[in-house]
Amino acid sequence: MLSVLTDPNDFFERRMEREERLGIPAFIVLLGGALGGVSTFLIMSVLVESLSEIQAMSEVAYGAFVSVMTYGSLFSAVIISLIMWLVVAAVFYGISAIFGGKGSFKRMLEFVGYGCIPMIFGGIVAIAVTLQLVQTLTPPQIPAGASPEELSQIIQEWSIDVARQPLSQLSSALSIIFTIWCANIWIFAVKHARGITTKNALLTVGIPVGAYIAYALWQLLGVLVSASAL
């Protein structure tokens, strides 16, 4: 299966001969999402430390809040990855239709899922980077009597501060790089799943992924500029 990383063209060509199955692709997507969620979980763990002093929150409520914030972040990351899987497959399906693409959405979904394997590696690297990041982070200073609005503002500011950290920027950069890797695989996935030329598959994948990478780079550059101002 790892041949999808080195020779995706051959991998998908052979997969076309098999029946459409979503089990393994779904597992890949879920695993990638879960690994990404672990990074979020680690950062949220730092955040919830500072919330224990809030007067308005009882011990039981705090425990529930911690559970929601940490495990919720993990769960939501998995759900979001599944949604994104569907969205990406749908976008590719739609654009490839313009180029006369034929083939089922299920096949598209299956191949896009295989194309998410780099996200697993990316997730593992992101966890390693995040583990180093959380050691340098200190919880935000939240006044005991902070109102929900103030709490929201403090967490928002703290999140921006976290994003300014070099390790966070590295994580974002790695995310872009691994997305490019995925995109490379998705080109061959679309080519075979939709039966279009390599050029059309390049356009099908390149347009939405290029737009996403441009957006991610713009955000990363914005964070870099604001961090250098500090």
Binding site: T6, P166, I177
Partner: protein, 392 residues
């Protein structure tokens, strides 16, 4: 001849009669005078200064049952001062003093020029023509209330408040009242606070020390003129004291500087550390380092300010401050507050650059590691992509 001798004998007889009559009257007056006594003789002020004007109050009393039921009739009372000038006239037809009762008679007098003890004489004539003579001591003492410099700092610095201590002592044998001191600069320029000091009454040999603050505005020789006024009875006396003060620009006060500033950035909170030293020639007290006022940042716990305490000359200490910085802030003002030995408070503001070459960012130390990780990731992905396309 016989007629002449007769005339001569007649004259002698008349003379003897007159003499005997006078002798009989005199002895009678001495007896009357014994019924009258001078109980007290009070002077106000108790001790006069030369040329002082004051009062002498004489208290007369009739001597009990011996004076009979009618008491003693006082015809007149004179005060003969000689050197002590009596300003008020004699008392005439005063009246009768009942047995066992007293009568006060007051004279206004002016003391002579010279110090000494004088003996004015009191003549009291009774209704029966008896005369009582009474002399009493009248003391004149020219000793005054004096001022002296109790303490003046060795160095007086321009524009710096200096505390001066003035001692006031009463050398007189009697109390004086209304003691007041006025201070003014007669040479040079400066401020004296307070410019007037009221002491009040000073008992004999009493001493009080006053403090006044002198802030010179110019350099060089200054003269502080102290004018002391007091009242001895109703007489106001003044004396002056010129205090010469040399004002220099030499600064011996504490000179606090900060150095070795470093900071660590923890997301948007800075931990600023550094050394604070006293480069002056005197000790600094109550040294506090705090984040100054401004926008775009705020001091946060645990160290919004840092109390250093006392810093002796050539001494130093470390400090730490925590600042929450918002975006686009490149300098942080650090305010240093300290007091000198006299309690004068000084403040100084230093600016710390947080985006310049003098500052350090420990997080930057991780940059090589980040670069390596990034390069490896890029390398792996690029190789993988290239390989996948070549396989095609």
């Amino acid at each position: 001849m016989r007629f002449g001798f007769f005339i001569f004998c007649f004259v002698i007889l008349i003379f003897c009669f007159v003499i005997l009559s006078s002798a009989e009257g005199f002895s009678a007056s001495e007896e009357e005078a014994h019924l009258l006594s001078v109980v007290s003789c009070e002077m106000h002020p108790a001790v006069f200064m030369p040329r002082d004007v004051g009062t002498i109050t004489v208290t007369l009393a009739a001597a009990g049952e011996a004076a009979g039921e009618g008491g003693v009739e006082i015809e007149s009372v004179y005060l003969l001062g000689r050197d002590v000038k009596v300003l008020s006239g004699p008392y005439l037809n005063i009246g009768r003093i009942a047995p066992g009762e007293c009568m006060n008679i007051t004279f206004t007098v002016r003391a002579p020029f010279n110090d000494g003890i004088y003996y004015p004489k009191l003549l009291i004539e009774t209704g029966s023509g008896d005369v009582l003579r009474y002399s009493f001591p009248f003391r004149v003492d020219g000793a005054a209330v004096r001022m002296a410099v109790a303490d003046i700092p060795e160095d007086i610095i321009i524009n710096e408040r200096t505390s001066l201590k003035i001692a006031v002592g009463n050398e007189r044998p009697n109390s004086v009242r209304g003691v007041m001191i006025k201070a003014e600069i007669t040479k040079g320029s400066g401020e004296v606070v307070p410019s007037e000091m009221f002491i009040g009454t000073l008992a004999p040999d009493d001493r009080k020390t006053l403090s006044l603050n002198f802030t010179p505005l110019t350099e060089g020789a200054h003269t502080l003129l102290l004018t002391l006024s007091f009242k001895n009875g109703m007489n106001t006396h003044t004396s002056t004291l010129s205090v010469h003060l040399n004002v220099s620009s030499q600064n011996k006060r504490p000179d606090i500087i900060i150095s070795g500033i470093e900071y660590e950035s923890d997301h948007n909170t800075l931990r600023i550390t550094g050394d604070i030293s006293n480069a002056g020639l005197s000790a600094a007290r109550g040294v506090v380092v705090r984040v100054g006022d401004g926008e775009g940042f705020e001091a946060v716990y645990p160290y919004p300010s840092y109390f250093v305490g006392s810093l002796n000359p050539d001494d130093f200490s470390s400090f730490e401050l925590n600042v929450r910085v918002f975006k686009n802030k490149t300098t942080i003002p650090i305010e240093i507050e300290f007091k000198d030995e006299d309690g004068n408070t000084f403040r100084r503001t230093e600016y710390v650059r947080i985006n310049g070459s003098e500052t350090q960012k420990p997080s930057a130390e991780t940059s090589p590691i980040l670069s390596v990780v990034l390069l490896i990731a890029v390398f792996v992905v690029v190789i993988s992509i290239i390989y996948s396309w070549r396989k095609r």
